[in-house]
Amino acid sequence: MNQRELEMQLQDLFEGRLTGDALKELQHELRTNPEAKDAYCDYAHLHNAMQLRNEGVDSLNVIPMDQAIQRDRRRSFRTAMLASVAALIIAGVVMALFAARTPPPTLRFATSPGTELSISHQLTGEGAPEGQVLEPGSRIELSLGTVELEFASGVRGIIQGPAAMTLRREDLLELNEGTAWFEVPPDATGFKVSTPEIVVTDLGTEFGIRSRPQAPDEVHVFSGKVEILNRKGVKKQLESTTGQAHMTGLVGRWQEIPLRRDYFLSELPKTAPKPLVIFEDSFENPSITGLTNTKPSGWLHDLPTSQTGLSNNDSGKLNTPFGSQVMWSNGGAIKTNPLSFSETLIGNATYTLSVNVGRRSDVHGGTCTIELLADDTVLASASEAVANSSTDFSQVVRLVFTPDESHRKLRGKTLAIRLKGEVQTQFDNVRLEIIPTKISGAR
């Protein structure tokens, strides 16, 4: 079946016109051809989206209230409960209708998959914004991922993490840190973004801002013009137009730099950034039996004491699901051997180190510490007490590290992992992942 025939048959299927041999033929194609399966999903999505668009929110009245009450009554709920249920159902339906038919909130936001953020609102209680909306005083801290902002005024923004921002007014966003792109329609001219170093006032345009700790702020103008004000020193103010980019210079002045569109996103990514595992070890080498002082392959003792070793489930005192061996520490520490693990630190990535920890069935565990290093410099560490219940190694100690400008000198240094524990703490399944980020520290 060629592509056209396939798509015609899918159309007929969704129109309810496909029967007999044609239906069988399509069914066979869908069972055997992955591309046909994708085409089916596409078709179903289009069909649904068109129906939704034409039926609107009326097709989404959440729960028919009378039916819900009738059913609840059959199940002998108390009257008071019914009243409360009814009120809530109405609230739910009204909420759906409200979202579609009343003026939108000051700012709506959406996130890309894999985004991690926290939101706080100035207003609390009944007046607090609900759902993915911001009102003046609301703040977002974005540790990972991307957020799309849609202002009621028509301004659209794409903010890449790490970032932090507070909505001050409908026309003023305070960006404490982050890489941000904005598109401002003519009606919203005058929209402002302030950072700790600068204030950018739109004069009808598309522009990007980079604001990072320990690096000069930058403004890139892709179309139209903006007014940029340096908040420091002589507070130099100037207009930046299409194709120009500036970064803050000495004593409150500006310095022209090359325009870089590649720093910015103008659409929300559809997929989560995929982590890349750059180190993985579950201490299966060398193979041992029982409880030993054997050092795991690929690791070095890191302290004068050698209070570390390997243990096996066959000792009867362990139950790790990650292979059959673990590394134990009784006050000692081990560190990756640079001859075995020689990855170096890069600037444009977020590192996640995770280690499963546990305890022997006959000894309570102590505190364990995991560290990520570049040569001998500790980049990040995390410590946790091993829980008494952690005999199954389900407890995970994790640290997340994103280099910034202060780590520039460490770029290119060899990464290392150090594990320390007390009182027979057991370690297993060590994983170091990186997620490359688009934000570049280089100029």
């Binding site: 798509e7 015609m8 159309q11 007929d12 299927l13 309810g16 016109r17 496909l18 029967t19 069914q27 869908l30 069972r31 399966k37 994708d38 999903c41 078709y43 179903a44 999505h45 289009l46 069909h47 649904n48 989206a49 068109m50 939704l52 668009r53 034409n54 097709s59 989404l60 959440v62 729960i63 028919p64 039916q67 059913r71 609840d72 199940r75 409360s84 249920v85 809530l88 609230a91 739910g92 909420m95 759906a96 959406a110 890309s112 998959p113 894999g114 985004t115 953020l117 926290s118 939101i119 706080s120 609102h121 609390t124 607090a128 759902g131 996103l265 659409e267 929300l268 990514p269 559809k270």
Partner: protein
């Protein structure tokens, strides 16, 4: 006040984490919020399980009612969407059994479930798609846009629609095919643009 600390993918069960077996007023409100938030995704899922069948709206409402009845059985540590989809799947099966008994010919259950699982969308993905659809409809010629919008607005069979438009069924079928193909291509381009940019 810290309202949420979420990874988008697990936002649902962060919100639901405090809903216990007996729901108080705020927990019930949260539950209704979850149902509301997932309406479009739930509808999309049901559509993918019922190609060419009437009654999507009925099944959606029935699913909502069952979700509401079972609200106290929802396990907070599990994913709301997965739970809601499982209930929707069951409701669709019941509806399909009735339709097949009345002579409907359609794809096998197991194949439909495989396809619908493959096409599952989260609420934010669906929003993306709806926005892209709007953009892509704007790129069609006026006549094409009117035809496809009228087709969905009408909701009639293709034969009835043909009579309504005064155009032969085959001609309409080909025109709609071309428009749909163009829309699908355009939407996919819009959706992947963001992914390629990242």
């Amino acid at each position: 006040m810290i309202a949420k600390n979420v990874s988008t993918a697990i936002a649902e069960f962060v919100v639901m984490a405090h809903i216990g077996m007996s729901l108080d007023a705020s927990q019930q409100a949260e539950f209704v919020g979850q149902i509301t938030r997932h309406q479009q995704a739930l509808r999309a899922y049901i559509v993918s399980l019922m190609p060419g069948m009437d009654g999507v709206q009925d099944v959606l409402q029935e699913t909502n009612l069952v979700l509401w009845e079972k609200r106290e059985k929802f396990k907070p540590a599990t994913h709301f969407q997965a739970w809601a989809f499982a209930i929707a799947r069951y409701e669709v099966k019941a509806h399909r059994r009735k339709a097949i008994a009345l002579g409907l010919a359609t794809l096998d259950d197991d194949l439909l479930e495989e396809l619908s699982e493959r096409g599952e969308q989260r609420p934010e993905e669906l929003e993306h798609r709806l926005r892209s659809l709007d953009k892509c409809l704007g790129k069609l010629q006026d006549k094409e846009r009117q035809l496809i919008e009228h087709r969905y607005f009408s909701g009639a069979t293709l034969e009835a629609f043909s009579a309504e438009c005064g155009r032969p069924v085959d001609s309409l079928r080909v025109s709609l095919f071309r428009i749909r193909a163009a829309l699908r291509k355009c939407i996919n381009k819009e959706l992947t643009r963001g992914a390629l940019d990242s």
